[in-house]
Amino acid sequence: MARDGIAALALALLGGAAIHQAGKLPYGMVRNPGPGFVPWWVGVTLLGLSLLLGLQALRARRARGPGRAGAPARAEWRRVAALLAALVLYVVALEPLGYPLSTFLLVLLVLRPASRRALVPALGLAVLAAGGSYALFAVWLKVPLPPGPLLR
């Protein structure tokens, strides 16, 4: 399982980083452990478990021969990356554009793959999602969502 190998490597690195960072904190002593005590041991545990998973992955590979990695195809990747990018843009836009407008745009973007043939319903849904959630949370539940230039 190549995927397990990747995961083991990534988490082993993370465990190592945790050990390194925890090493900079006061370890204290067993009699009175400091802030670095538990993080250090958890880092060691994570590193150990990652190595164990790596070994298991290696054994499985030797038993079965190199298998096909379960990485998504390129088109799939693109869709996920596009949605993530849209979400990141959303966080950036939330304050300047305001909640209703940026939410409207986000919903439109998320709906796009399904709405190529039906733009009008997609627009309607986006308006409904942005307006409805704004009404529910900002107006009724009094969550101070950024209103943006539209409502200011």
Partner: protein
């Protein structure tokens, strides 16, 4: 067409929502509930006092006062949160001697008088040394004798490092020349549970929290740290009477982050001033075993500064 009708309905609903959401005019402070951040876990005396404040505050503030629990780090977590909040008067700290003088000095944490504008002090109370009801010590002196004969054997539950239980115990240990095992707990509730369960021998608590336990015979008060005895437990001597020169009282005050507009602080102070005069509030605090001892913003700022200077010397000495 069905779709277009649905769409029209949707748009109508949206327009209605937008109309309802028309921007509110600039309102006078307070236009929304004010948060009072409590930097401790539930059930301690600080919590109880804050609840009493919140129970009447809406009458004088014109808005609800919401108590928000942010425990951790001996009160540093909640204090830091308030400092970083927008200084608009909507986020206040229910601070105290523990986190905002002693802890701030010891850890050099920026949560002291330089970071806050006081709104009002509500009260200040002495700490009460309490042991389990079936503990072998009947008096404070007996407990000290035990600790002297068995260095490091007495398990003391504090309510956070350098907090309002830890500090007076350090002072006493220094004055009496004893060694004890100092175990940190997250607030008065958990420390009390530890003593009740036999996982620690003694703790410092405040009257509100201890009175029902004492009444039920579960706990026994041995000494108070004030200059005078507490009226509600008149039989319990002061530490000074027991022969150790230690006094300590802990204040509780609403603090605003530095940079809060003076007009807003004034409004809040006025609300707290009226609140402190409220009959039912006074009765509530009395029932908790405390007395209301109000100080306004300027007055308390001075008191706090003085305490800060004194404590700085003590901490400096204790750390050596």
């Amino acid at each position: 067409m069905r779709t277009s009708r649905t769409l029209t309905l949707m748009l109508a609903a949206l327009l209605a929502a937008l109309a309802a959401a028309s921007p509110a005019p600039a309102q006078e402070f307070p236009a929304k509930p004010v948060e009072l951040v409590l930097p401790f876990g539930p059930g301690g005396s600080h919590d109880l006092t804050a609840r009493a404040v919140a129970s009447v505050a809406h009458q004088y503030l014109g808005q609800a006062l919401l108590v928000v629990l942010r425990p951790g780090g001996g009160g540093a977590v909640g204090s830091q949160q308030v400092i970083r909040a927008k200084p608009d008067g909507y986020t206040l700290l229910f601070g105290g001697t523990g986190p905002n003088t002693i802890f701030a000095l010891v850890q050099k944490a920026p949560i002291g008088p330089d970071q806050f504008v006081p709104v009002a002090r509500v009260n200040h109370s002495p700490a009460v040394l309490a042991v389990r009801g079936d503990a072998p010590w009947k008096t404070f002196r007996e407990m000290v004798e035990y600790a002297k004969k068995n260095p490091g054997k007495l398990n003391f539950a504090n309510t956070g490092p350098w907090g309002a239980a830890d500090f007076p115990m350090r002072l006493i240990a220094r004055a009496a020349g004893i060694e004890y095992n100092n175990i940190p707990y997250d607030g008065g509730g958990p420390a009390l549970l530890a003593v009740l369960g036999g996982h620690a021998d003694a703790t410092f608590g405040f009257a509100p929290q201890l009175i029902p336990q004492i009444a039920a015979g579960k706990m026994r008060a041995l000494a108070v740290t004030g200059a005078r005895r507490l009226s509600i437990m008149a039989g319990v001597p002061t530490v000074k009477e027991e022969g150790f020169d230690v006094t300590f009282t802990m204040w509780r005050a609403a603090l605003a982050p530095k940079g809060t507009p003076p007009a807003v602080v004034e409004k809040l102070e006025a609300a707290f001033r009226k609140l402190a005069e409220d009959r039912s509030f006074k009765a509530l605090i009395k029932q908790l075993g405390d007395d209301v001892d109000f100080q306004g913003s300027k007055e308390f700022a001075e008191t706090w500064r003085q305490e800060w200077e004194t404590a700085a010397q003590i901490v400096g000495a204790a750390k050596k």
